[in-house]
């Protein structure tokens, strides 16, 4: 502790020299630096879109004005249908994804540790991953009838393999030295798993979780058509209805909503998680990034 205190003193003394002084200002600057390129990209995309519409390439009932789509989105926000739909879908996504993470982690852990299982079923996981959601619908209905559970089942079958694969990849690429260090410290089986393998495969696992989220979401969009529980306006139903009605502004408004949710989840959840891991592990090198 003495050392730390001495250092702090010295650092304080150095302030007189030429040290970065105002961390609060710097944080605002950093936030802004992370924000404006997104705004710029958005503006650029909207501008391009508008230009294409103005070029008259396609009639506006096929390719509507950005303004039409945004106001459709605004209307939906206004009359509450968007919040209701997003709420229902996000709740399903969260529940299903959480279950998928649990199932995926369990499967991934088992398969990555038990060599026999690995040989027997390793490739099966990717096989399952390639199975389109609609193939599971009959089975889902068989087991769960027409219920929310059927939707969750489809999400889990969609996302769990991706998460398991992420964990397996993560575990496969742990530097052997760390595993050896764990074994030397007396960690065997479960302890080795808990204290070494799991934390060491975290980067690959988070990558798998991210891909799993995409699978979960896509499966959900399909699965929500499985059971349209009387006028519950989920996002999946909105998407399908917009398609059925050939409603281009409606379709694009729903697509925008999906994009916004995807971007938000990625930057708020996965981005933060990934940055936290990389900061802790010292994988963010100012000199090289």
């Amino acid at each position: 502790m003495a050392t730390r205190d001495r250092l702090t003193e010295e650092v304080a003394g150095l302030d007189a020299l030429d040290l970065p002084k105002a961390p609060r200002v710097r944080r605002a600057v950093r936030l802004w630096a992370g924000f404006w390129p997104k705004i710029a990209a958005l503006a650029l995309a909207l501008g391009l879109w508008q230009a294409v519409v103005w070029s008259g390439w396609k009639p506006t009932y096929v390719l509507p004005h950005p303004w039409t789509v945004l106001s459709e989105l605004g209307r939906r926000v206004g009359d509450g249908t968007l919040m209701t739909a997003a709420g229902i879908t996000l709740r399903r996504a969260l529940v299903g994804y959480t279950l998928a993470v649990l199932v995926g982690t369990a499967i991934g852990s088992l398969v990555s540790r038990v060599k026999l299982l690995r040989v027997a079923t390793g490739s099966l996981i990717t096989g399952l991953q390639t199975m389109p959601s609609i193939a599971w619908f009959p089975l889902a209905i068989l087991i769960f009838k027409l219920s929310e559970s059927a939707i969750l089942f489809v999400i889990i079958l969609g996302a769990a393999p991706a998460i398991a694969n992420g964990l397996i990849t993560g575990a496969d690429h742990i530097p052997p030295l760390l595993l050896r260090a764990g074994r030397v410290l007396g960690a065997r089986r479960l302890a080795l798993y808990r204290y070494v393998i799991l934390p060491a495969s975290l980067p690959g696992f988070v990558a798998g979780m991210k891909q799993g989220w995409s699978f979960a979401w896509r499966s959900l969009m399909a699965g929500e058509l499985l059971v349209i529980i009387a006028r519950k306006q989920s996002i999946g139903v909105q998407l399908q209805v917009a398609r059925d009605l050939a409603d281009a502004p409606g379709l694009m408004a729903t697509m925008l909503l999906i994009l916004i949710i995807g971007i938000a989840v990625d930057s708020l959840f996965f981005g933060t998680l990934d940055r936290a891991i990389r900061r802790r592990w010292g994988l963010m090198d100012p000199a090289t990034s």
Binding site: A2, Y195, P199
Partner: protein, 263 residues
């Protein structure tokens, strides 16, 4: 394969005195024309509570031997017996990047079964021993090379093993720090009387610390010579007695290296 491996008290009956028995152990990496023979029918023995240093040219199989003694690898031929729990300090620091300095040391304690309450003071005292008390909450990537090595030392000592295998533990430390840690290690060893097999390239260091210094031949490793160090403890690394014996061992080493050609 005749290779056999036995760990723990089962091997005890065989030789009451020996904590480590290495019997005609060969180790070959790979197959066919790509094969590298690291060790060739190496036989050695370390008594319980003995401090043995191992010196030998780069690539002669010292690390390989230590890994096999720790049960991380098995010999291609020959047999190995180790009595009691082994601890290994790797040639690299091998710290867990997701844990802090304190966390790395604490994990060793936890896996040894030390309760949560006892862990904290033990971690503090171990970090003090390696002079890193101010760095408990840092992560490995924030440390210098020598500091990392000291954390690894603290972690290895936290294991409280019966047989301590150390692979160039002080290689990247300055002379002052090393002297201090020599004294600490010797103190601990005198207190607890664990068995030590210590690899080093610094022959003076070997003489400073060891009861016996073993010299390995160049690849493939084989036992070339064994020197008993009778200089009374506490020893100091600068004394003429240490220098003299170190000179003798160095001579033997260079004969070895010259005979085998270079690695």
């Amino acid at each position: 394969m005749t290779a056999t491996l036995s760990h723990g008290p089962a091997a005890h009956t065989k030789a009451a005195e020996a904590a480590v028995r290495v019997d005609a152990v060969s180790k070959i990496f790979g197959h066919g024309p790509e094969a590298v023979q690291a060790l060739d029918r190496l036989t050695l023995q370390v008594d319980r509570g003995e401090f043995v240093c191992l010196v030998g040219a780069s690539g002669c199989g010292k690390s390989t031997l230590l890994h096999m003694l720790a049960g991380l690898d098995s010999p291609t031929a020959g047999s190995i017996a180790v009595e009691g729990r082994t601890g290994l300090m790797f040639q690299e620091a091998a710290l867990f990047p997701w844990l802090t300095v304190a966390g790395n040391v604490a994990l060793a304690l936890r896996l040894r079964g030390v309760g949560r309450a006892e862990r904290r003071p033990l971690v503090t005292s171990l970090l003090e021993m390696v002079h890193l008390e101010g760095f408990a909450s840092r992560r490995p990537h924030e440390l210098s090379g020598g500091m990392r090595q000291r954390v690894a030392l603290a972690r290895a000592l936290a294991q409280n093993a019966d047989v301590m295998l150390m692979d160039e533990p002080f290689g990247s430390l300055d002379a002052m720090t090393r002297d201090l840690l020599h004294a600490e290690l010797e103190r601990l060893w005198t207190e607890r009387r664990f068995t030590v097999l210590f690899v080093t390239h610094n022959v003076r260091e070997a003489v400073r610390l060891a009861d016996r210094v073993l010299v390995l031949t160049s690849r493939p490793g084989r036992l070339s010579a064994s020197f008993r160090v009778d200089i009374p403890r506490p020893r100091r690394i600068e004394t003429p007695a240490v220098s003299a014996l170190a000179g003798e061992i160095t001579e033997q080493l260079s004969v070895e290296v010259r005979r085998h050609g270079h690695a």
